[in-house]
């Protein structure tokens, strides 16, 4: 087989016989991170615009594979492989299509972008505050909805969340994205999917569940939404309706205290493990703040879920909590 070519930032590099993408980039004088050069350490992870050679994606998690990430040290393309540049996405203008206050501190914003905005439901975007700050929010909608749905919890004293809560319909703002590795990959339509989130960690899970259903997923989907008390759980009726329309989807509401007949009570990780049943062959999506995601990841892993099947984008605070 004749060696291929790579294209990076407008530059075309002809590979030599037997040469990997990593070697080709280095020969062209480009600075590429690398480590083991044997497909193990993943330091030379790059993203292509086209599908990379399968051998260069071995051992990567499914969401990386779906986004054409590959290991440069293992890639010997035969055709042209165009690499993604290192620059991130440009900001896009969007308008507020609707804003609904769902609980005392959670609002649902639907934004209509002015330009094309490609994403996978469950990924996140950055909202850019006019003052220069930005905050990340997960996307709860599907591209076919025509709007970008965000669930915004008002943080006491929060500059960006407070501003978003006060926006009126038709207000303009800028967003940038998408980012993140927490989305549905339709590689096995019989697989059990376990979606667990706390608070506004529900947003990506709604997107992932609807995306899986729309893509014809047939295996069981368990969505577990956790909150402190019953009145903190939002979108319950919408979720219950979605579950009624989709026999493979089960929705569970979970609280730490004050459960009624409609909620499970207990620590979210323990409730989720109990409800999920056997975890062999399952895939989990975990969303919420850093601490709860850390706990869920560890508990589900110890309960038998393979580490490579745990997908999570923890919400991180915008700055370290004050001591």
């Amino acid at each position: 087989m004749s060696p291929g070519q790579i294209e990076v930032e407008g530059q075309r590099i002809e590979l030599e016989q037997g040469e990997t993408v990593l070697q080709g980039l280095e020969r062209a004088g480009l600075d590429v991170a690398s480590g083991c050069r044997a497909g193990t350490c993943t330091k030379c992870l790059l993203q292509a615009q086209d599908a990379p050679p399968p051998a260069s994606q071995r051992g990567l998690r499914p969401t990386l594979t779906a986004q054409n990430f590959f290991l440069a040290c293992q890639a010997r393309p035969t055709g042209l492989l165009r690499l993604r540049g290192s620059r991130g996405p440009e900001p896009v203008r969007a308008r507020v299509a609707s804003i609904d206050h769902l609980t005392e501190d959670v609002a649902r914003l639907r934004l209509t972008p002015d330009e094309r905005f490609d994403y996978r439901p469950g990924q996140y975007l950055d909202v850019l505050h006019p003052g220069g700050e930005s905050r990340s929010y997960s996307i709860a909608s599907l591209p076919s909805d025509g709007w970008l749905e965000l669930h915004v919890r008002r943080i006491p004293g929060g500059q960006v969340s407070g501003w978003l809560h006060e926006l009126a319909v038709d207000a303009e703002l800028a967003v940038r994205g998408p980012f993140g590795q927490c989305f549905h990959v339709a590689d096995d339509d019989q697989r059990k999917l376990l979606l667990v989130g706390a608070g506004t960690g529900l947003a990506p899970l709604v997107g992932i569940a609807r995306d899986a259903l729309e893509q014809g997923h047939r295996g069981p989907i368990d969505l577990v939404h956790g909150g402190l008390e019953p009145n903190r759980l939002y979108l319950r009726d919408d979720l219950d309706r979605l579950a009624r329309e989709s026999p493979q989807l089960r929705v569970h509401h979970c609280v730490l205290r004050g459960a009624t007949a409609r909620e499970h009570e207990g620590p979210l990780d323990q409730v989720a493990i109990r409800l999920a049943g056997a975890l062999a062959g399952a895939r989990a999506f975990l969303c919420g703040d850093g601490e709860i995601v850390h706990l869920l990841r560890r508990s589900l892993f110890l309960a038998g879920l393979p580490s490579g099947e745990i997908l999570a984008d923890p919400f991180l605070p915008s700055k370290p909590a004050l001591a």
């Binding site: 480590g35 044997a38 193990t40 350490c41 051992g59 850390h294 990841r297």
Partner: protein
């Protein structure tokens, strides 16, 4: 053929490293060292370690190993903890079908890392 290849290479080690890490998280003698650790990153590092000690494609530098364990040394990491790691390493390899002789060789290689891990 390296032990790494004989035991099934990358796919086999993907699940073996999960088993290895589960053992570490649930062993009270060492679990406290993993409480606040980013699990995803840690599993990637341990996979590289398992690959290295079984003769697979992974690089190893004593400098990396020293830097990675410097903070744990301050928290009391000592010989007995390294013994626990080598113990679990052997058990996982046996469960993957390694012969006792192979396990002995791997343990000897892991021994050579001890000084770096303990910052000696």
């Amino acid at each position: 053929m390296s032990l790494y290849e004989r035991l099934g290479g990358e796919p086999a080690f993907q699940s073996a490293v999960d088993e290895f890490y589960r053992r570490m998280l649930t062993d009270e003698r060492v679990s406290r060292f993993f409480d606040d650790v980013d699990m995803e990153g840690q599993i990637a590092k341990q996979k590289a370690f398992l690959t290295y000690v079984t003769g697979g494609p992974a690089e190893y530098t004593g400098k990396d190993m020293r830097a990675a364990h410097a903070e744990l040394n301050e928290r009391g990491l000592s010989d007995e903890h390294v013994d626990v790691v080598i113990e679990h390493l052997g058990a996982v390899l046996l469960s993957m079908g390694a012969a006792p002789d192979d396990v002995g060789e791997v343990a000897a290689l892991a021994e050579s890392v001890r000084a770096d891990v303990l910052g000696r």
